[in-house]
């Protein structure tokens, strides 16, 4: 194994979405595994906004420059190449385990202080990961181990075969991306056919209450789940109807908890059927109960891409965008912005902003722009109080605002020498006026005083 496992040292820019012009260099160390074709496989974590990727083999000695050749943050996988041939001498690719080889004699392997460290691990179960924000369902192998500080791409092995990469560890439980998922993704990538992960965009509830199934006239034994939202995607047309009962997915019967019996992984939640040998764009066959009879439905898996949500969720690694007008800092209302309140953002971020995450975009306003903070300058006196923070823009100079671009555009046409900002009904402050003529001078002064190199970054 020591000829197949390498160390990474990644330098990246960490962004603070509440101070969007601020970049902080961060260094991440992790591990990876040599795969066929002179490439190294690792997790996608820590690779967003990387500025330098270095690799080291043998646990000591020289570092080589690497290049990220492929990364999918939804799948949490990345492939890194090294152009220097010397690196590849005496390295051998790993061998992945098959689905029926994932449970026994597990060990976590990594480099530590120049030596290979191996720690025993014990298989626990397969589960579909809970998503913090928008995320495609991911199957994870859970195993317990005493190894300290794991979760940076260490290899989980069984004998000579690799069972998966350790993506995270909480308490003594390691979450491992299992080998069959990795090999399927790598194969599609090799074939030039990788389409990314799909997901179910509908919301269901367990149909465990017999009175509920009776109400929807489902006869026979208790089974299936009840659809309570046909699609969470903006503007999507779903083949499902509200209150359809999903009985089977790709031939697997769904139980009243919403689980099915997977031949490889045991009882897991049906969300995983969006990923079980399926990828974005593939068709999943649903058997549903509708209007007193069963019906077959072809459901096309949407790509796990949430950029069109009202609270936009841009691909990881996209730099924060912003527009500063006279010290008013405008940012898109995004998943990253809400996440800047930390893991518990649902509780800690301003309630009104969090609630937009439950709402769908409207035709006139597909996304939202927030006044996130005010950089004090006498030009913006009167707007520096707390009530002028985290307000969502409705219009600027009479134009509806949905993106920073539309805001930049609106700022080109002031009304009689004034910029008029109107915030959403119900906001703690609904209107702000700025002097249009003095805006440029104020921008220069504020950018200089607060040492901001660029007062806007729209893309």
């Amino acid at each position: 194994m020591q000829k197949s496992i390498v160390r990474f040292d990644v330098t990246r820019n960490d962004h603070n979405f509440r101070v969007p012009w601020d970049k902080r260099a961060q260094s991440v160390s992790k591990l990876g595994a040599v795969i066929d074709g002179n490439e190294v496989l690792t997790t996608a974590q820590g690779l967003a906004n990387h500025t330098l990727v270095r690799l080291q083999k043998g646990g000591r000695g020289r570092w080589f420059n690497g290049e990220v050749k492929w990364v999918d943050f939804q799948a949490n996988l990345a492939v890194v190449g090294v152009s220097d041939e010397i690196f590849w001498s005496d390295l051998t690719p790993i061998q992945f385990a098959e689905a029926d080889e994932l449970r026994d004699d597990l060990q976590v392997v990594r480099w530590r202080a120049g030596n290979i460290e191996r720690r025993a691990a014990e298989f626990s179960r397969f589960t579909v990961a809970d998503a913090n924000f928008n995320q495609a369902p991911r199957i994870e192998l859970k195993a317990s181990s005493e190894i300290e500080g794991a979760g940076r791409g260490e290899l989980m092995v069984s004998g000579a075969k690799v069972v998966g990469l350790v993506a995270s560890k909480s308490g003594s439980t390691c979450s491992v991306i299992p080998a069959p998922f990795i090999t399927a993704a790598l194969k599609l990538r090799a074939d030039g056919n990788y389409r990314g992960l799909g997901y179910f965009d509908f919301i269901w509830q367990p149909a465990s209450n017999p009175a509920t199934t009776e109400f929807f006239e489902l006869n026979g034994p208790a089974r299936g789940v009840l659809v309570i939202k046909t699609s969470t995607r903006p503007g999507a047309k779903s083949p499902l109807n509200l209150h359809d009962i999903i009985l089977e997915v790709d031939g697997f019967p769904i139980d009243i908890q919403g689980d099915y019996l997977d031949p490889d992984y045991g009882h897991v939640i049906m969300e995983y059927l969006a990923c079980r040998n399926k990828w974005a764009g593939d068709i999943v066959k649903l058997k549903v109960w509708r209007d007193g009879k069963t019906q077959q439905i072809d459901y096309t898996l949407p790509k796990a891409d949430f950029t069109e949500n009202l609270v936009t969720d841009r691909p990881e690694g996209a730099e924060p965008t912003y527009l500063i007008a006279g010290g008013l800092v405008f940012v898109p209302l995004s998943a990253e912005y809400l996440s800047s309140w930390g893991k518990d953002w649902q509780r800690n971020a301003p309630f009104r902003l969090v609630f937009y995450n439950n709402q769908k975009p409207e035709k006139a306003q597909r996304s939202l722009v927030v006044l996130s903070l005010v950089l004090p300058d006498f030009y913006n006196i009167g707007y520096q109080e707390r009530n002028a923070q985290n307000l969502v823009l409705d219009k600027a100079n009479g134009l509806r605002i949905d993106t920073l671009k539309s805001l930049a555009n609106a700022l080109k046409s002031p009304e009689d020498g004034f910029h008029v900002f109107e915030f959403k009904k119900g906001s703690a402050l609904q209107k702000i006026i700025l002097d249009a003529e003095k805006l440029d001078a104020a921008n220069q002064r504020i950018a200089k005083r607060y040492r901001i190199a660029q007062f806007q970054k729209l893309q």
Binding site: A211, K229, R347, F351, Q430
Partner: protein, 481 residues
Amino acid sequence: MRIIFTTLLFASLASLASAADMGRSVVQVLLYSQTPVWDAPWRSNPVAASSGSGFVIDGERVMTNAHVVSWAKQIVLRRFQDPRPWQAQVEHISHECDLAVLKVTEPGFFDGLDPLPIGELPKVRSTVVTCGYPSGGEQISYTSGVVSRIELQNYVHIGNKAFLSVQTDAAINPGNSGGPVFQDDKVAGVAFMGIPGLENTGFFIPPAVINHFLEDISDGRNDGFPKAGIRIVSLQNPAFRRYLGLDPTGDGARIDSLSDYAQKAGLLKKDDVVLEVNGSRVGSDGTILLDGNRVYCTAVLQSAQKGQQLKMKLWRERKEIEVAVPMDIHLEDANTGNLYDSLPRYFVYAGLVFTPLTLDYVKTFGRNWRGVANLEMVYELYYQRNEKPEKVRPEPIVLAATMAHPVNADLRLVNRAMIDEINGRRIESLEDVIAAFKDNPKDQHMIKFASGTVECLDKAGGDSANAQILSTYGIPSDRRL
């Protein structure tokens, strides 16, 4: 120096002497009270004992704080150095401004007790003396201090309203509540609250608020404080002032938003600049000058009684205009404040307990209720009215609890959930819930929650289990309306 010092000493002694005389008219209020359990609304919490202070005012009445006598089961008064208990009743109570007036029917109580006159708003830095029966002893207690500042403060008893309030460094402790604060030989306020964590800060209710309450109840009814339904914000940005055609450094604050009713009335408009309210000049930060203190102009808006008109001088479309704004009582936000003295409404069907969504209800989730309550609940309670008034439910209803029984045992969502529809009927009040269950032609009842989750109940089973569930769980009646 010496002479001045002596004079000062004399003056302060004189003030204490007169306070001591007036102290005869200060009484101790002993309360037994019982509050309801908001998520099991037929139940009550254990009876609690507490005490406060009060004082005699004209008309053979005793004034105290509303919070001293809320949810009263028994009110007993004790006179100065008189061992006898005297029973009292609440005559009028205003939970908004935390004041109450008590009556004593037993003859003789007021013998020898002079009514205390209500004086003027004291000046900042002037000396005041508090008087009452704070904890830490049995006898009447006096403390003195200076008036620290005067401004609008949130009144914690109601929780969602701010009124004029005077801060002092005279010690105000539990039990002082409802007692008078003296200046010279008059009452300058009613002691009512402190702020935990702040030292040497006590607050008292100033004469303007006391007199408003007394005038309000003089017709035998407590109407409350009317509202104009406007949100006034500072207007200090020079560009905004020029945009409205005003001098960049002049007076006047801006109406930023209007409540639904003010919008409909049409008298006041967004971007109106309030220059004067009842003759008081409004500064660009929204404050007026009140007896030498700058306080937020809401203090003047609150001086009106129900049905009165308030004169406002406005700047609208680059012209000065005058309007007379009718001031009315609007209780639309009552459920976001603490509720008192009337027991919670509820309806129980098949063990499912329905009750209105109120602040008191969500507080049963614990101090951190905002993190526990689901988003729809918080939105309905605090945001819907301002954002989509047309969608507001007059009385949003929650499923507070489910009393377990085979008929409801298969429900997964059993409490802390807001109701959207029952049997296809949009639920806007407890009466809607009752009607929806009653008029259902189907074999199952279908409850749709605000989150979209659906739960059904067998109708025949529910109907027949009702009485048994009530008796099993000791619920005296299936409803309180």
